[in-house]
């Protein structure tokens, strides 16, 4: 066993260091060799990837149960376990060859930025998937949160104010109101599911329709009368548009504030799922609800908690969407829930409940964004993009399920 561990360590460390060295050499050599216009920021990516692998190699020493066997069997297992990831890597390489401009830090940051709100939603929806449920109301909650927050955060001088007489309140207050509004509907979802044992598909379908109706009523109130909300206060818009470290070197576009927000939320959700009683209960209820009841778990309270926490995350996503686009309409977020579910499923969350990891969900969201962005980059028609997206969902889930099927 010890030998195997050192093999893992060797593979990752040596491989990582080679990639790292290659990156550093290319970094300094690209201008003299005249490659700058051909490989763009590739050296930087190589350095980051190399560092990552090398670090993984160093870390793997501590864990002794994480052994790696080098054989054709473990190789084919590796292929099935990471099929979608590998397919994505192939695609990225193809795109990079067709269109070397893809190899830019700017592009990578764009992809991460676009993934951020989707990721927050996916993390919310994964809780409902983990108990073998679903949440169709997620997208409409995004719309609700964006409309509510934007409606109270317009500049004083804007002609078409939602509340003409509203003073300039603290930014956080409307945000909290918007998120709280979502959580009320989340509680309604949870109540229907937990109290009446309603299937989450039906319960959240009903609530989704209610939310859209309620949000539209609010949106239609005079004097707004269903006009898109604009004139967003700059301090609110900053929350979605601010760029950190912009211009620390020439041409650096800055890191969107959405990225650190998403990272923080990922860490929190990972912690909740893995380190708290609540998280363990979620897995237990998803794994075997009857057994959870017998073990003395309060299923009602936990299901309520799941839907409220999920709606809180949708609320956050909605607020960030409003800030990012500096506007809102009642149609914001429409259909987002399906993208979030697809990302979760591609990331290995089982619709039968009980199985799913934060790391997988991050991967699922990134895969979708990268593919979408990449296909746009090489001018694939949006219609073809839809077809490819659908194929990815089907293939990913098919591969995932074969893992569990034993013969």
């Amino acid at each position: 066993m010890a030998e195997n561990v050192s093999k893992t360590k060797k593979l990752f460390t040596v491989g990582g260091l080679i990639v790292l060295a290659l990156g550093i050499i290319l970094y300094f050599a690209k201008t003299p060799l005249g490659l700058a216009r051909k490989i763009y920021d590739l050296p930087v990516f190589l350095i980051i990837i190399g560092l990552g692998f090398a670090l993984k190699g160093f870390m793997s020493k501590a864990k002794s149960d994480n052994d790696l066997e080098l054989s054709s069997k473990s190789f084919s297992e590796f292929l099935t376990n990471n099929a979608i990831l590998l397919a994505m890597l192939v695609l990225v390489v193809v795109i990079c060859i067709l269109q070397p401009r893809f190899m830019q830090i700017r592009v990578a940051l764009d992809i991460l930025t676009q993934s951020s709100t989707k990721l927050i939603m996916a993390l919310g929806i994964c809780f409902t998937l983990l108990i073998a449920g679903t949440d169709l109301s997620a997208g409409r909650m995004v719309g609700l949160a964006s409309v509510v927050s934007a409606s109270m955060l317009q500049t004083a001088t804007y002609a078409n104010r939602f509340f003409p007489d509203l003073p300039q309140v603290q930014v956080w207050l409307p945000i909290l109101i918007a998120i709280a509004a979502c959580m009320v509907f989340g509680a309604l979802n949870g109540f229907l599911v937990a109290k009446y044992d309603m299937h989450p598909f039906i319960a959240t379908l009903a609530v989704q329709v209610i939310i859209y109706g309620a949000c539209s009523l609010y949106f239609d109130m005079p004097p707004n009368n269903s006009q898109p909300i604009g004139g967003i206060r700059p301090d609110f818009a900053q929350l979605g548009q601010m760029r950190l470290f912009a211009g620390i070197y020439k041409g650096f576009p800055g890191i969107s504030i959405l990225i650190p927000i998403a990272v923080v939320i990922c860490v929190i959700i990972w912690f909740v799922l893995n380190k708290t009683v609540f998280g363990k209960n979620v897995y237990a209820i998803g794994g075997n609800r009857e057994a959870a009841v017998v073990a003395g778990i309060n299923v009602f309270r936990n299901i309520m908690g799941i839907f409220i926490l999920a709606s809180c995350l949708y609320g956050i996503a909605g607020v960030l969407e409003a800030a990012r686009t500096a506007g809102a309409t009642n149609n914001y977020g429409n259909g987002y829930e399906l993208d979030a579910i697809a990302a979760c499923v591609v990331g290995g969350v089982s619709l039968n409940g009980g199985i799913g990891k934060v790391g997988g969900i991050i991967m699922g969201v990134l895969i979708f964004t990268i593919i979408q962005y990449g296909l746009q980059f090489i001018n694939v028609s949006p219609m073809w993009q839809q077809v490819i997206k659908g194929v990815i969902i089907a293939v990913a889930v098919a591969i995932d399920l074969t893992k569990y099927r034993r013969k």
């Binding site: 009683v277 363990k280 897995y283 237990a284 794994g287 057994a291 003395g296 009980g354």
Partner: protein
């Protein structure tokens, strides 16, 4: 033509890390009942799954009537005349009995189902098996016994030459077992061969012609139940010895000490809101006592203990815990009051199959490891590890998924779960059901150890020897009512049976 109907030769099957079958043989003659025995994890189910096309064996050959066959799916197995009646039946609950019998091969033309023909055929089939069931009744409303007969009827209708019965009697009452045996005997006379998997020695000796024993994935041997030359019968001791590979002199560990006079649980006239469920149950449980609850299937014993634990409501009556009044609000509350319930259906209401052993062990005691809802993983790991080691759970690590353990080890994990909660009263519902002999003995030892620590146990058991061997006192129930108590020393199977069938003159068994 070979002398055997079915020959399985040198079957080998390997799972990652485990050699589940190692050159196993099975030879089945037409018109016989062939018992397949072995401890849990011996490989019986795996062997049957290889025969039934659910697994593909890595090595070995299967011959049917002398011809080599390759079976890759259940469908192919059925086409070859092999049928299997699983231990746990999953009928389509909201469809009729007849539709379940003809599932997948409805009579009719061009996709239009001929309901009349289906009804008549089912009726005739049932009459032949002396089964008094309306073909139009919903499958979900039938008892386990009826469902089993339904499966056998299905096999008969498919002209099965080989019928595999996996633990067919685990949820049947004695009378239902008699009926089952009658059917088996009749079909055997018609030339059908049975492979009969069971842990119940007496049954095996009663019904089977030959016994094949497996141990740890290996073939031990095949013996006729009655030796043709000498007329000698196999003995239970001999079979156990072959199964475990060691002498088992005592089925039960010796009980030391006596229950104290202190009453820890007092139940007075407790009745269910449902008429047909338990009514007017009263008893006292003493400290350090093992109170056995005996009775037939359907005596409402499980329902009663579930009510005690807060899983079901009660309409009237009082319960006192250590002298203080107790209400059966919900399982969480019962747990906080020092009650623990090991349920009868391990898979349905016990284990979290897709979760690791660690989570399965600590799930009922999480509050103990958490501050502000955040778990202390180290503490959980230490305690789970200690408890699993103490109970001798055989597993590579705490990260192993519990569904990959054998039934006995799963049961030990579940017991560890409830021992961690430090409960004073352990309610064990069929604690050794479907568990091999060795693990049973270990569980008996655990029970006695808990008693010596000052705890008390209520044990439901349908196995007479276990009930009589372990209990300090036996309470017998029949159709929801307590029909009597027996003290240690006055137990006989006949007395218990008499109490258990007191109202059963018009019983519901077919």
């Amino acid at each position: 033509m070979s002398e055997y109907l079915l020959e399985m030769k040198n079957i080998t099957k390997t799972f990652p890390g485990v050699k589940a079958l190692d050159n196993v043989n099975l030879n089945l003659r037409a018109g016989t009942v062939h018992a397949l025995m072995g401890e849990n994890g011996a490989g019986k189910s795996t062997l049957m799954k290889c025969l039934f096309g659910i697994y593909n064996p890595d090595g070995g050959e299967i011959f049917l009537e002398g011809k080599k066959v390759n079976i890759h799916s259940a469908r192919q197995a059925m086409d070859q005349g092999i049928a299997m009646v699983h231990q746990e039946l999953h009928p389509i609950r909201f469809r009729s009995v007849m539709e379940n019998v003809y599932l997948g091969r409805f009579p009719g033309h061009m996709g239009v189902v001929d309901h009349k023909a289906m009804y008549d055929k089912t009726k005739a089939l049932f009459e032949d098996l002396e089964l008094d069931v309306d073909p139009l009744a919903l499958a979900g409303e039938q008892s386990a016994a009826i469902l089993q007969m339904m499966e056998i009827a299905r096999a008969v209708d498919m002209k099965a030459k080989i019928i595999i019965l996996d633990e067919p009697t685990s949820s049947l009452s004695d009378r239902e077992v008699d009926h089952l045996f009658k059917i088996i005997n009749r079909l055997r006379a018609q030339g059908v061969a049975f492979i009969y998997i069971s842990h119940k020695m007496k049954e095996i000796l009663e019904i089977s012609d030959e016994v094949t024993i497996m141990r740890d994935g290996q073939y031990v041997g095949t013996w006729p139940v009655t030796d043709k030359a000498t007329g000698e019968k196999l003995t239970i001791d001999f079979i156990i010895k072959q199964m475990v590979g060691r002498e088992m002199t005592n089925q039960f560990p010796p009980r030391e000490g006596k229950p104290s006079d202190e009453v820890v649980l007092k139940v007075e006239h407790v009745s269910s809101p449902l008429k047909k469920s338990f009514q007017d149950v009263s008893f006292e449980l003493h400290k350090q006592e093992i109170l056995g609850i005996g009775g037939l299937v359907g005596a409402q014993r499980t329902e009663f203990v579930e009510a005690l634990f807060g899983l079901r409501g009660i309409a009237s009556g009082q319960i006192y815990l250590n002298g203080a009044k107790y209400t059966n609000k919900n399982p969480g509350f019962a747990k906080s009051k020092g009650l623990a319930l090991l349920t009868e259906e391990r898979r349905a209401t016990g284990i979290f199959g897709i979760l690791p052993i660690l989570e399965n062990t600590v799930i009922a005691n999480q509050k103990h490891y958490a501050s502000l809802g955040i778990l202390n993983e180290k503490k959980m790991r230490v305690e789970a590890d200690r408890e699993c080691k103490k109970l001798n759970v055989k597993t590579p690590s705490l990260e192993t998924l519990i569904q990959n353990l054998s039934g006995g080890n799963q049961q030990k994990v579940l017991i560890a779960r409830w021992l961690l909660t430090n409960s004073d009263i352990l309610i064990l519902d069929e604690p050794t059901r479907g568990i091999d002999v060795g693990a049973k003995y270990e569980i008996y030892n655990i029970m006695l150890e808990q008693i010596s620590l000052g705890r008390s146990i209520i044990m439901i058991s349908s196995e007479m020897p276990e009930l009589m061997g372990m209990s300090d006192r036996i309470m017998v129930m029949c159709e929801g009512r307590v029909t009597g108590f027996l003290n240690k020393g006055e137990y006989t199977q006949e007395k218990i049976m008499a109490l258990a069938t007191q109202f059963a003159a018009h019983g519901n068994a077919a």
